[in-house]
């Protein structure tokens, strides 16, 4: 695959690399949360596995609406689409599906542990808690699930006691997470961990 490259003559440089074809590629210091994460995720310890992380080739947050040029795995299809299509699923051997999911699970474990290592203090301080994303995630999950069940009043009525407790715990924990209380099995998480795009 040939990545699209935009060359720039702007002055502040952090690093200069070359692509395979000899084109110079200028890297700007990366500032958005997503691009910080991608930068750190190209660490050797996370690259030894069969899971690839897209490379950010260019980022200009000052351009109108921002410009980011990232590696595109052009000839790939996301797994969420494959498993939702009987036709595509039939083309995929079960053994391959199993080994792929094992790789993904293993990668996630490595990511969770890597993100909590003492050496990653810099990464954690750059991302921070990412309160806006904590709130968004909460809003579309624990903030909405009881409302959805209002469409199923029998189910809601039978279970409302427990459901309210689940919701309450999630709300309290959201506040805890924002206020820097830490517990076991907490740390930097992927935050959008599913098989789709």
């Amino acid at each position: 695959m040939s990545p699209f490259v935009l060359l720039s003559q702007q002055s502040q440089r952090t690093d200069v690399h070359k692509l395979d074809n000899g084109c110079p590629l200028t890297l700007f210091s990366i500032q958005s949360v997503e691009n910080i994460v991608l930068e750190y995720m190209s660490q050797p310890s996370l690259l030894t596995m069969k899971v690839k992380v897209p490379v950010t080739y260019f980022l200009d947050r000052n351009a109108h609406r921002g410009i980011a040029i990232q590696q595109d795995f052009r000839h790939s299809t996301d797994i969420a689409s494959i498993i939702r299509s009987a036709e595509l699923s039939n083309l995929w051997m079960r053994s391959k599906a199993l080994s792929t999911s094992q790789e993904v699970g293993h990668w996630l474990r490595c990511f969770h542990e890597w993100a909590s290592e003492p050496q990653q203090v810099d990464f954690r301080s750059k991302i921070g808690r990412n309160v806006p994303m904590q709130r968004l995630k909460h809003k579309v999950t624990y903030g909405t699930f009881i409302d959805i069940l209002k469409n199923f009043p029998d189910i809601l009525q039978k279970n409302i006691g427990v459901l309210e407790k689940v919701k309450e715990r999630a709300e309290l924990e959201l506040l805890d997470l924002a206020s820097r209380n830490e517990g076991p099995d907490q740390g930097m998480i992927h935050g959008d961990c599913w098989m789709g795009k």
Binding site: R84, H112, G128, G191
Partner: protein, 115 residues
Amino acid sequence: MCQFGHRAYDLGHMIGDLYEAYHFHSSDIALTMIRGFMDGYGEINDDMAFRTAIHAGVQFLGWYNRRAPSDSVKGTGEQISSAAKISTNLIVNGWERKRQWYQSTPLAPLFQSGA
């Protein structure tokens, strides 16, 4: 979406999404992938397992809203009511820590120790 949070959210999101694919698209491969994903992640303690089950249920139930505002809810009548029921059961049994209940569900791999 990278953030500070509970690791069970990552596990539950993945499993909830796979369960949704299994439920609405009869994807057996999705079931296989739940097992493979947990194999790959490795052993987790009961707290993590129950939290993951709860989050998987919440994620699955969120299917109801994952559509364009003008689209109708995805699924046949039967699929819709059973999705609501199953996802609620995942949440409630997770809160009540009913380990045994999960053994006959696609979430059984959450509660199995490594061989």
